[in-house]
Symmetry: none
Subunit: 217 residues, 4 copies
DNA sequence: GATGAATGAGGCTTCATTCAT
DNA sequence: CATGAATGAAGCCTCATTCAT
């Protein structure tokens, strides 16, 4: 059947087969981040991916399954990248914290995946499974990372002795909140403060706040 | 005595009339915090309040109006109290910040209403009307409050000179995140750090981070 | 108990009792004509009458019953008045038709009751009982009236010989349509033609159209 | 063969796609004319068409859009035909008016779609959007059509000089009223006069009424 | 008699999910 | 594999009707 009605520049079918799920979750990520879970219509995801709505169901059992896949695929690689960045850092802990936070922001916060944390926080209650998964795969690894930096600083007497568990959350909070703003009310609110200034002040406060006090004399 | 017509202990009609709105917003708060805005069905709110769905519309024009009432009733008064605190405060700015944050936490964060911020951040994109309302009614007043404290500290040379806009967000972030955790993944995660420790360390870092440096001399 | 909270100038209760139903139907007429049957809310009728919604149910079993009462009370008296006007007319039939139509317009069409025909035509299908009632009480008497005028004209050789039944409808149609326009799309449409011009042309055509032809010679 | 899964003769999916909108508007026309606009439940339309309620929304955005489609499909073409008739007509204006009115009656009045005008007049007040639409799409074109015929007659000295705007409405009124009767109280009332007689007398009066008077001499 | 708070059925509309092609 | 037409279960909101006071 030559001259088949290939209206669109026929995409290579064969190759697609394996790439499909990733294409779909990529499209879904975009829409979920844009609209939130409840407001995301599978129609939109399908349109974004350039497939029919039915096709989604060939790869994912339900909207919920799709959502889970998006979170899974979206966040873990980013975290891995973050970990790689940190591994084998030489230098003082202030600089390490600085680089870690900056790197995470550039790799995650400033990217589209930066919308995931908001999504997860938003839907954690409705999807305990996601919450648990995220908790294990992301939060634990993430906090461990920060924890190691804090502990390193304390051990090296660069940081004060603090309650590490608490401080880990305190260190993460401003970065997470920045992501959340950006994907919710930021349009108007957080505006007025650009990323550079925000992080400057963040480090200004955090590092002063953590710095070991030097004996006066 | 089957078929007794008085199945439920007939509640006094008259007295209800005035109490109703508060009953309804209380019920709504519970469900909103539990399920999120979009996922809250007015049926559930009605059931929670022990009335029929129609009754809600006797007191509130729409789901949105109900939500706004919840916010107005639960958060705005706290802000007012906060404003009063700041306005009449004598003493150094560190103590003021301490009292303000502690007070806010007790009035909002530790209460059920503390679930509202998460909800708003989560669904702001989908309900621009609500986002705008919250922005005006809560965020603007809240940031103004913090801003006034920071500026007071700077003016009194108690705090360093910082970019106030940025610092306002940095100061709020750990408090907001604490609320968000609590209403999403906290079940398991943030556990391990109790409020007291968290806020101790929070002040420890924030105040050190803001403190004006004393000339060595 | 002096100083009772008589906020409104207490209306004489005793006298009301008998007048109430008429007050209610008057209010209902206004709202029905304004909004149509389905769109009329009993709340609005009650408000218009200055009573509570419950009160309506003291006098009328249902919205439907109220509607029927409105039609009954609104139209029959007007028709009676119309008949009185006609009785005992002396003069030629052209003038009679002219006066009849003009009179009916002034008594009905130009008044608020002029909205009733539209209502009835609109709802006849949904309320066969109303249709039957209106048919008997109004249409039959109305057509008989016109019929008598046409027949009078024919008998007196002032009008051509025509199919009286058909002509009766043809004579009524422009008057009825005028009422209907006025209560539906008139706002914009029929505008451009004032009543005087409309009726001038109406008579101009109708009377020429009915006039007996005079033999030339 | 109990529980046979093929309860209904499975209709061919492909062929349906194109025919569907017409099927749906046909069903809708029936129900709209039967019940009126407000009283028409989309459930009924769907049932009448043999589809589910959701299917309606595959083809029409809303009840209003569905109604507009019904009008566009049923009335607008007739107007177009009428316009064509007038545009190409050779001959005297009496015959033109006769043909136009007769044609309109056959295309609209005598069909099911003839129930639409009543509906629009009845509910225009409650659905301003529909009123505006009908005004633009139907009334304006319709009156322009009649107007052109009247003016043609005057220009050709076949008709008297009359107030055209008024006469347009006078000419339409008996036709519209005939439609309205037919769809409201006609069951019993207008009966007694068949269409042929009615239109005979209509032309008899209208044309005599419009005819230019010939100078005596 | 009068009130008006309360009810609950029902309408329009949306959208996740299915399934014949 | 892919499609997209079709479904039907809810959800928000309205309003005629009831009934305790």
């Amino acid at each position: 059947m030559p001259n088949s009605p290939a209206t669109k520049a026929a995409p290579p079918r064969r190759r697609r087969k394996e790439a499909r799920p990733a294409e779909l979750t990529a499209a879904a990520l975009e829409v979920f981040v844009e609209k939130g879970y409840a407001a995301t219509r599978l129609d939109d995801v399908a349109a974004q991916a350039g497939v029919s709505k039915g096709t989604l169901y060939l790869y994912f059992d339900s909207k919920e399954a799709l959502f889970k896949a998006v979170v899974r695929e979206g966040i873990v690689p980013a975290l891995t990248e973050g970990e790689a960045l940190v591994a084998g850092f030489k230098g003082n802990s202030e600089d390490l914290l600085r680089e870690l936070a900056t790197g995470m922001w550039q790799l995650i916060g400033a990217q589209r995946i930066g919308g995931i944390p908001k999504l997860v926080f938003a839907e954690a209650r409705n999807f305990p499974e996601i919450a648990a998964f995220y908790q294990q795969e992301v939060i634990q690894r993430g906090t461990a990372l920060i924890r190691s930096v804090i502990e390193r600083g304390i051990k090296r007497k660069e940081f004060r002795k603090v309650d590490v568990a608490a401080v880990v959350h305190l260190v993460m909070a401003p970065v997470l909140m920045r992501m959340i703003w950006r994907h919710s009310i930021d349009c108007c609110a957080a505006a007025g403060v650009d990323d550079a200034t925000y992080f400057d002040e963040y480090f200004g406060i955090m590092l002063r706040g953590l710095r070991a006090e030097r004996k006066a004399s």
